[in-house]
Symmetry: C2
Subunit: 218 residues, 2 copies
């Protein structure tokens, strides 16, 4: 199937949502769906859906609609969900523990291979089936296992210190929960997906404020 390799990141960011909805349809035994029906379930317009999915060669057939399993599988391929990229997690506090135990790494393109922390209270303990290692061991560990992704659940200051080292050790991608901004100009060959929970909360605060106390129109 012809693929357009210049797909914009905004389209890519919408694909996981398609993937989730298509997975639900499959679970419910639905194997074929029109763009109109899919649009209704996803609260989109049929033309938005056709536009998004046409970027990848168009899986729909006039008068038939989409083959759910084929589309689901193709989106998984596009997103690389079977890649099993070797991943380490830094910071075994509350958030790091939640991510380690809560996320299904294997279904989302990743394979967790190590958990690190610098606190003596945490190092040596276990999270899921991982013994927490000291961050001092990162160099040796990365040399041996060559992980490419690091999940940062550490304070800003530690992230500022560790990010340059991790890049030296061969890390190419960050899932960044810390408040440290990884400078894309400084590290052009590194990809970063930020999850700033605090920023998300502040954005919600604004929206609640506007809803509950709408500004007086002058």
């Amino acid at each position: 199937m012809a693929k357009n390799t210049n797909v914009s990141l905004s389209v890519i960011k919408r694909l996981p949502r398609y993937y989730r909805f298509l997975g639900d349809l499959l679970q419910n035994g639905i194997h074929r769906i029109s763009s109109k029906e899919l649009a209704e379930i996803m609260n989109l317009t049929a033309s938005q859906i056709r536009q998004d999915l046409n970027c990848f060669g168009g899986f729909g057939q006039q008068g038939y609609g989409y083959n759910v399993a084929a589309l689901h599988g193709e989106i998984a391929n596009i997103l690389g969900l079977e890649s099993g990229f070797k991943t380490i997690l830094l910071g075994a506090g509350n958030l790091g523990r939640a991510i380690t135990t809560h996320m299904n790494f294997e279904e989302k393109g990743f394979r967790l291979v190590g958990v690190f922390d610098s606190s003596p209270n945490v190092v040596g303990g276990t999270v899921r089936d991982f013994v927490v290692q000291h961050t001092d061991a990162l160099g040796t560990f990365c040399g041996e296992y060559q992980p490419v992704v690091a999940i940062l659940c550490i304070p800003k200051e530690s992230a500022g210190e560790l990010v340059p080292k991790l890049i030296d050790y061969g890390i190419k991608a960050f899932w960044n929960f810390s408040h440290f901004d990884i400078n894309s100009a400084q590290y052009p060959n590194v990809v970063v997906e930020n999850v700033h929970l605090g920023d998300s909360m502040m954005t919600l605060s604004y929206q609640v404020k506007e809803l509950v106390n709408p500004p007086v129109k002058e």
Copy 2:
């Protein structure tokens, strides 16, 4: 100071990042900064910064730059960070516990007033200083305390069941970590801030795939 009340959500979404950087400057004793200097720290252009901040009446003065404390305070006002919106959290599993203990609600516009779960293994236990209550008690609790925000750290199915009830009970805003899509067409007077960690992870998977195995150009 004149305020434009029709600020786009994309500008609003950038304000928390300004707020964080300005807070850091204050902590480091810096009370005045030019848009050029701020741009450098934040990896933006000076004109982007001026454009964003002009939406709110413009705090910079020609030849002086920005008064850091005044701008920081004004952004806090705009975002409503002192609102203390009464908030409940649903789902005291790993993720819910991490959110409860990890986030500084009070500094971000919210006040956590209750934690709920439906599992008998969890109800009656404590998270931070909250005794976990059963979701069956939500109606009574909301009648008494009138929370306006609910944080959803529950499975999709539970969210589908609880969201309509919560809206009936007076909840006006959701910070949604569940994979349940709250239909904005169905609930036009409710605001939703989604944090789909799985989607974020899949987006990262795509980016890593493109970086590590770039597609062959034809």
